[in-house]
C-alpha cells in the first residue's frame, strides 16, 4: 500500500485538503452515498436507522438530565420532580428520555423480529446478528438501571427483585447479590453505582453499534427476498433512495414519539413510581416496565427460582445461536410456507408472554405463561432445526431485479444516476 496523500475526488479545496489527509468525506460517500443497497427494501428496513437516532436522542437528553439529577436516596426522587418543575423545559427532556426508552424497545423489537422473519442472521451475517444481540442485552441492562434512578416504589422494588435473581445461583449467589448492592440491601451505594453504569453503558452500546454497522457494511444488507444482490441491477445507491425512504420513516416515528411525550407521557409507566421508594412497604404487584414483561413471564412460569432465572437468561441467549439452529438454506420466510405459520405463532407467544407478565402470578396466568414459554423454546430448539430439513421451500427468484422488474428488464440494468454510475463502487 502506497504511503502518501489519499487520492481525493472532492472538488471543494478545503474539504479536499482534509480528505487527502483523513478521507472521511470519501468514506461517508462510499458508505452512505454510493453504498450499493438492495433495491427492494420495505419499510421494515427503516428500523436500524431509527434505532441509531433513538440512541442519540437518549444520550443527548440523558446528559442534560444528569446535570440536574442527584444520585442519592434522599434526593433522587425530589431532584427528578425538580427537573419536571423548575428546570427550563426539564419536563420535556425527562419525558423524552422516559418515553424514549419505550420507543427504543418498540423500534428494536421490530428490528429484531424483522431480522428473524427475513433470515438476516444467516451466513454471512452471523456476527452482525450476534453483535445485535449484545446491543440488546446492553440495552436491557441500561434500561433496568435507568428505571431505578427516580427512586420511586417500582424503582426500588424492581431493583430488589431483579438483583435478587442472582441469589438463585448456588454457593456464590448471595455473595454476588451483596457485591451488586454494595451492601446488604438495595440502598445508596446501589443507586450510586447504577447511576454511574447507566451513564457508561450507552457509550458502550454506541461502540458496539459502530461494530454492528461496520459488519453490516462488509456483508451488505439482507432484503425481503433473502437472496444476495448479484450485480448493479439489483442494487440502488443508498443516497438518495434510502436516505429519503428512511426520512419518511423517521417522521412517522417522531409523530408516534410526540404523541406519547406530549399527550400521554405516563401512559407506559406505572403510577407507583411516583410514590417515593419505601423499603418498609412492598407494592401489591411488582411489575417491570412493559418491554421486560415477556422475559418476566418466562421467569415466573417456572416454579423453581434457579430454573426460572436460567430459562429467562436462556430465552435471550438462544438468539446467539440462532444462525446455527436454523438449518434452512432459504433466508426469507416469504419462501417458507410452513415455517412462516409457526413463526407467526412464535410472535403470538411473545405477545402472550408480554400480556401475562403484567398479570399477577396466579392462575390462569401461570399456566398461560408456561404454555407460551414452552412454545417460545419449541420454536427455537425444535421447530426451526427440524423444519429447515423437512420443509420444501418455494422456488426462489433468479435475482432481486428479476423479481422486481420481471425477467425481461434485467438485461437493461437498473437506472443508476449518472453521477453515481460514473464512480465505480468498490465492494467493501
Amino acid at each position: 500500500m502506497a504511503i502518501g496523500l489519499h487520492d481525493s475526488q472532492v472538488s471543494n479545496p478545503v474539504l479536499r485538503w482534509i480528505d487527502q489527509r483523513l478521507p472521511v468525506v470519501t468514506m461517508m460517500q462510499k458508505e452512505y452515498g454510493t453504498f450499493p443497497t438492495p433495491r427492494n427494501f420495505n419499510y421494515f428496513w427503516n428500523f436500524g436507522a431509527l434505532a441509531l437516532i433513538n440512541l442519540v436522542i437518549m444520550i443527548a437528553t440523558g446528559i442534560f438530565l444528569a446535570m440536574n439529577y442527584q444520585p442519592h436516596t434522599a434526593h433522587a426522587f425530589d431532584s427528578v420532580e425538580r427537573i419536571m418543575r423548575d428546570v427550563n423545559f426539564g419536563w420535556l427532556i425527562r419525558y423524552v428520555h422516559m418515553n424514549g426508552a419505550s420507543m427504543f424497545f418498540i423500534v428494536v423489537y421490530i428490528h429484531i423480529y424483522r431480522g428473524m422473519y427475513y433470515g438476516s442472521y444467516k451466513k454471512p451475517r452471523e456476527l452482525l446478528w450476534m453483535l445485535g444481540v449484545v446491543i440488546f442485552l446492553l440495552m436491557m441492562a441500561t434500561a433496568f438501571m435507568g428505571y431505578v434512578l427516580p427512586w420511586g416504589q417500582m424503582s426500588f422494588w424492581g431493583a430488589t427483585v431483579i438483583t435478587n435473581l442472582f441469589s438463585a445461583f448456588p454457593i456464590v449467589g448471595p455473595e454476588i447479590v451483596t457485591w451488586l448492592w454494595g451492601g446488604f440491601s438495595v440502598d445508596n451505594p446501589t443507586l450510586n453505582r447504577f447511576f454511574a453504569l447507566h451513564y457508561l453503558l450507552p457509550f458502550v452500546i454506541f461502540g458496539v453499534v459502530f461494530l454492528h454497522v461496520a459488519a453490516l457494511h462488509i456483508t451488505g444488507s439482507n432484503n425481503p427476498l433473502g437472496i444476495e444482490p448479484k450485480g448493479p441491477q439489483d442494487t440502488l445507491p443508498f443516497h438518495p433512495y434510502y436516505t429519503i425512504k428512511d426520512s419518511v420513516g423517521i417522521v412517522a416515528y417522531f409523530a408516534l414519539f410526540a404523541l406519547l411525550v406530549f399527550f400521554m407521557p405516563n401512559y407506559l409507566g406505572h403510577p407507583d413510581n411516583y410514590i417515593p421508594a419505601n423499603p418498609l412497604v412492598t407494592p401489591a404487584h411488582i411489575v417491570p416496565e412493559w418491554y421486560f414483561l415477556p422475559f418476566y413471564a418466562i421467569l415466573r412460569a417456572v416454579p423453581d427460582k434457579l430454573g426460572g432465572v436460567l430459562l429467562m437468561f436462556g430465552s435471550i441467549l438462544v438468539w446467539f445461536v440462532l444462525p446455527w439452529l436454523d438449518t434452512s438454506k432459504v433466508r426469507s420466510m416469504r419462501f417458507r410456507p410452513v415455517a412462516r405459520i409457526f413463526f407467526f405463532l412464535f410472535i403470538v407467544s411473545f405477545f402472550v408472554l408480554m400480556w401475562a407478565g403484567g398479570k399477577p402470578a396466579e392462575q390462569p396466568y401461570v399456566i398461560i405463561s408456561q404454555l407460551a414459554t414452552a412454545y417460545y423454546f419449541l420454536w427455537f430448539l425444535v421447530l426451526l432445526p427440524v423444519l429447515g430439513k423437512l420443509e420444501k421451500p418455494l422456488p426462489l427468484p433468479e435475482s432481486i431485479a428479476a423479481a422486481v422488474l420481471g425477467t425481461k428488464a434485467v438485461l437493461g440494468g437498473g437506472p443508476i444516476p449518472q453521477a453515481v454510475a460514473a464512480k465505480p463502487m468498490e465492494k467493501a
Binding site: 433495491r39 427492494n40 425530589d78 420532580e81 425538580r82 419536571m84 418543575r85 419536563w91 420535556l92 419525558y95 416504589q153 440502488l236 438518495p240 433512495y241 429519503i244 425512504k245 426520512s247 419518511v248 423517521i250 417522521v251 412517522a252 417522531f254 409523530a255 410526540a258 404523541l259 411525550v261 406530549f262 399527550f263 407521557p265 405516563n266 403510577p271 407507583d272 411516583y274 410514590i275 419505601n278 418498609l280 412497604v281 412492598t282 407494592p283 401489591a284 422486481v404 422488474l405 428488464a409 437498473g414 437506472p415
Partner: protein, 253 residues
C-alpha cells in the same frame, strides 16, 4: 394487648399507603374533568378554589413539599395575593449569625410549609397513619384525578357485616375500604370568595383540579407544544413522502 397494638400498627402502616394495600375497590367513576381530555385545560376558578380547600382543610395533615408559593402565580393569583398567602405561614430559617434557627414569614421562593416536621411526628399526630404528601398524588394513583375525587366523596356507613377497625373509616373507593383518614368535607366547609356554593362534590372537584395541576403543572404548555409539533410533523411528513415518491418515480422496486 401487645398483640392488638402490633395489629393496629401493622394495619395503620398498611392503610396509610393506599395504592399498595391489597383489596378490591370499584373503579372510580369518570368525573369528566376538563383537564383529562386530550387537549384539555384547567379551570382557573376551580384551581383557585381548590387551593383554598387544600389550604383550609387538607393542609392540616398533608404536605405538598414540591410546591412553592411562587407556583400560585400560575393559577392566576396576583403577585401580591401570593405574597400575602406566603407571608401568612411561618417557616424556619437559619442558622443566623448567632448560630440559632429562627422563624420568619414565608416568601414566594419558599416551599409550601409541611404540617409536620417529619414522618414520625405525622404518624404520632394521626393515630399511627402517615398522611401522604400530595405534590404528585394524581400521578401516583391509577386514574389519579378520578380516584382522588371519588375517595373524597366515597365515605359511607360500613355495609352490614363489615366491622371497621378502631380509628378507621369506611370508604367505598379505597383499596380494602378501611382508611385512616376521616371524612373531612362537609357542605359549607369553606366559604368560597367567588360565591360558589361549597357542596362536598364541588369542593372535591375543585381540590382535585388543584392537585392534578400541582402534580403536572406543565400540562397545558405540554399539550400546546404537542399540537404544534404534530402539525409540523404532518407537513414535514407530507413533504418527505412526496419527495420520496419523486425520487423513486423512475425506479421499479
Amino acid at each position: 394487648m401487645r398483640v392488638l397494638k402490633a395489629l393496629a400498627l401493622a394495619a395503620s402502616v398498611f392503610v396509610a399507603t393506599p395504592a399498595l394495600a391489597a383489596g378490591e375497590a370499584p373503579a372510580a367513576p369518570n368525573a369528566g374533568f376538563s383537564f383529562n381530555a386530550l387537549l384539555g385545560t384547567f379551570d382557573r376558578g376551580a384551581q383557585q378554589r381548590g387551593f383554598q380547600v387544600y389550604k383550609e382543610v387538607c393542609s392540616a395533615c398533608h404536605g405538598m413539599r414540591l410546591m412553592s408559593y411562587r407556583n400560585l402565580l400560575d393559577i392566576g393569583l396576583s403577585e401580591s395575593e401570593a405574597r400575602a398567602i406566603a407571608a401568612s405561614f411561618q417557616v424556619t430559617d437559619g442558622p443566623n449569625d448567632e448560630g440559632a434557627m429562627f422563624e420568619r414569614p414565608a416568601r414566594l421562593s419558599d416551599r409550601f410549609r409541611s404540617p409536620f416536621p417529619n414522618d414520625q411526628a405525622a404518624r404520632a399526630g394521626n393515630n399511627g397513619a402517615l398522611p401522604p404528601d400530595l405534590s404528585v398524588i394524581t400521578k401516583a394513583r391509577h386514574d389519579g384525578a378520578n380516584y382522588v375525587r371519588a375517595l373524597l366523596i366515597g365515605y359511607r356507613d360500613p355495609p352490614p357485616g363489615v366491622t371497621v377497625m378502631d380509628g378507621m373509616h369506611y370508604n367505598e373507593y379505597f383499596p380494602g375500604h378501611q382508611i385512616a383518614m376521616p371524612n373531612v368535607l362537609n357542605d359549607g366547609q369553606v366559604t368560597y370568595a367567588d360565591g360558589t356554593n361549597a357542596t362536598v362534590d364541588q369542593m372535591a372537584r375543585d381540590v382535585t383540579t388543584f392537585l392534578a395541576w400541582a402534580a403536572e403543572p406543565e400540562t397545558e404548555r405540554r399539550r400546546q407544544m404537542g399540537v404544534k409539533i404534530l402539525v409540523f410533523l404532518a407537513i414535514l411528513g407530507g413533504l418527505a413522502y412526496a419527495t420520496k415518491r419523486k425520487v423513486w418515480a423512475d425506479v421499479k422496486h
